[in-house]
């Protein structure tokens, strides 16, 4: 072992030992609970069940892409993907737009008591999705809601409306969180940038549009990507809403479809669906990242 003049292990050796202490715990857990499960899902998705004759025991055999063909032919699965994509196209811009407007107002000199508002808007983030869905389930109810005047006129839990009722629950929980991320980006903008604009007589709106918004685009991209991931994963809210309305089917979102397919049990098909969903999520968030990077670079 290499040693320095004081007889201690040399720096390189000490560094290597320290690196092991720092990296091995995370590396091991990441491998066990991220890498191996992903690999196992892929492996599982390549299997298929075969029986010898009608009454023979079921055996798992290698089936190649059989399950993936089944996934691509599974209309219910694609309907559920289409449903959450529609959800995302509408809900993510509304949520981020609200978050941006509130963050800009908090950052402007127009609002007093911004500390209180910041915490008030953020509070719903402390409510777990399951609990938020239960609460809003009561608020939507035609009989128990504080707003029965509205909920008796409009059926928020009908087949047509329930997707947007769920969108409202998700928006309610996450606007404040996204607002804080954008607000933090606004705080990081140097004040000097505003001074020239002010000397030119630019109002707050003008400053917001031409200085602040372009500078918080990276924060918007980040929140956008996390929102897309969240949308495709939608599970807790619709699962809870099944107790309030029959309009939420067991194949309402991709994750519900996977869950009900796995409980059939058709594990290999469910695993193939998981892989497809994870890939779709990955591709979508990656595309958003690249598109916005190109635009900001221009």
């Amino acid at each position: 072992m290499a040693r320095d003049t004081a007889g201690r292990p040399s720096r390189a050796v000490r560094h290597r030992a320290a690196l092991a202490v720092f990296l091995v715990p995370f590396g091991a857990l990441f491998t066990l609970f991220y890498v191996i499960p992903i690999g196992y899902a892929v492996y599982q998705s390549l299997l298929t069940v075969e029986r010898e004759g009608t009454f023979g025991p079921a055996v798992q055999v290698f089936g190649g892409l059989t399950q993936y063909i089944a996934v691509f032919q599974n209309e219910l699965f694609w309907n559920s993907i289409g449903r959450v994509l529609l959800f995302g196209v509408v809900q993510v811009p509304i949520m981020l737009g609200l978050a941006l407007i509130l963050a800009l107002l908090l950052d402007s000199p127009l609002v007093r008591g911004s500390r209180f508002f910041r915490l008030a808007f953020f509070a719903p983030y402390a409510v777990p999705s399951v609990i938020a869905a239960i609460m809003w389930g009561f608020l939507y109810s035609p009989n128990l809601s504080p707003f029965t005047g509205v909920t008796q006129a409009v059926d928020f839990l009908s087949a047509d409306a329930v997707l947007w009722s769920i969108a409202n629950v998700v928006t309610w929980v996450y606007v404040g969180y996204n607002m804080l991320i954008i607000y933090s980006a606004l705080l990081a903008i140097p004040q000097e940038l505003y001074e020239a604009a002010r000397l030119d007589g630019a109002g707050q709106l003008r400053i917001a549009l031409s200085i602040k918004i372009p500078l918080v685009v990276p924060a918007l991209v980040l929140t956008g990507i996390f929102s897309i991931i969240g949308t495709l994963q939608l599970l807790a809210e619709p699962q809870v809403f099944q107790s309030f309305t029959s309009a939420v089917t067991s194949t309402f979102t991709p994750n519900l479809t996977i869950y009900s397919t796995a409980s059939v049990p058709n594990i290999s098909l469910a695993a193939a669906m998981s892989v497809v969903l994870a890939l779709a999520t990955f591709v979508l968030s990656f595309t958003v990242l690249k598109l916005t990077q190109r635009r900001t670079a221009r």
């Binding site: 000490r14 560094h15 030992a17 320290a18 202490v21 720092f22 715990p25 857990l29 990441f30 609970f33 991220y34 499960p37 992903i38 196992y40 899902a41 599982q44 000199p109 127009l110 609002v111 508002f117 915490l119 808007f121 509070a123 719903p124 983030y125 402390a126 409510v127 777990p128 399951v130 609990i131 938020a132 239960i134 609460m135 009561f138 009989n143 504080p146 309610w172 991320i181 990081a188 002010r198 109002g203 709106l205 924060a219 980040l222 991931i229 994963q233 599970l235 807790a236 699962q239 809870v240 099944q242 107790s243 869950y259 796995a262 695993a271 998981s274 969903l277 994870a278 999520t281 990955f282």
Partner: protein
């Protein structure tokens, strides 16, 4: 207080008086509009929580017959007693489980992620960027995509329906590594690490005594967001756990909520239980806000 307050103070000081030519009139109108938006938003965000608070204090009869947004006979303590009485205080058990999964889990997850992030920021070694990119890829993997394969793997070793099946997977926070790396690179100067080395402190000791202190805002942020992620986690416990006594509070309340149509009395328990399940999170966030707000400011945005 910390940097947030300081920077805010200096910003207000530097903020010049309203511009000439009609600036004051414009800002009176804009001020009113801005405050109106704020008030409407506050009502939207806080009314559901207010409703939950009020509903938790009502008797079963008052819940359906009195105004939902104002108090009637104050039965909060009766409701609490009923909640804790139900099925041998199973609800307290769920709260304790959630505290274990989320509290202890987030603590270890933070430590493990911080060590990895610090090492990637402060040491150069072969494959460093590759490792970091793989971990970043992990941030983009949806947690629910892992739940099913995790269940299959745990069932192979007969470990589903145990504490470990929920606890161990929640120790991994790729986002925590990402945040720690960025924060360590920006806030732990190499000179200080070098000085500690000259003083003869070991590498690991330097991390625990010197670096963690400078990374504190990032560590609190990672802890909080991991805490929330585990506390809110639903799919993994739903898939893994059959035994009611292992449930976290979200899964327990979900199961109760599905039983409301058969056992109408349970509705009151769902409501008071929901209130109790969000109080720890709100207290934690309020108590630690000066840390996570500055951590958020430095972290997510590079």
């Amino acid at each position: 207080m910390t940097a947030t307050t300081a920077s805010r103070a200096s910003r207000t000081a530097r903020r010049p008086a309203p511009a000439r030519n009609g600036g004051i009139r414009e800002s009176a109108v804009s001020r009113t509009i801005a405050m109106a938006v704020m008030v409407v938003a506050t009502l939207y965000f806080l009314t559901p929580i207010w409703w939950l608070l009020v509903a938790s204090t009502k008797t079963r009869a008052d819940f359906t017959t009195t105004a939902p947004l104002w108090f009637a006979d104050f039965a909060l303590f009766d409701n609490l007693a009923a909640l804790f009485d139900y099925r041998n205080a199973v609800f307290l058990r769920w709260l304790a489980n959630s505290a274990l999964y989320a509290g202890v889990g987030a603590l270890f997850a933070t430590l493990i992620a911080a060590m990895a992030g610090y090492a990637i920021a402060k040491y150069s070694f072969r494959g460093r960027e590759t490792l970091f990119n793989v971990i970043l890829g992990g941030v983009l993997v949806p947690a629910t995509a892992l739940a099913l394969p995790l269940f299959l793997l745990f069932s192979q070793i007969g470990a589903t329906n145990t504490i470990w099946a929920v606890f161990l997977p929640s120790l991994v926070s790729p986002f925590g590594v990402y945040l720690s790396r960025i924060y360590a690179a920006a806030s732990v100067p190499d000179e200080i690490i070098e000085a500690a080395r000259i003083d003869g402190a070991g590498e690991v000791r330097t991390f625990f005594t010197v670096a963690t202190r400078m990374m504190a805002p990032a560590l609190v942020t990672i802890f909080l967001f991991q805490f929330v992620a585990i506390w809110n986690n639903f799919f993994l416990p739903l898939i893994m756990l059959r035994d009611e006594s292992l449930f976290p509070v979200t899964l327990g309340l979900y199961v109760w909520n599905t039983q409301v149509s058969q056992i109408p009395d349970i509705r009151a328990l769902v409501i008071i239980g929901s209130l109790l399940s969000i109080i720890p999170l709100i207290i934690t966030f309020l108590g630690l806000q000066r840390f996570w707000q500055s951590g958020l400011a430095s972290g997510g945005l590079k």
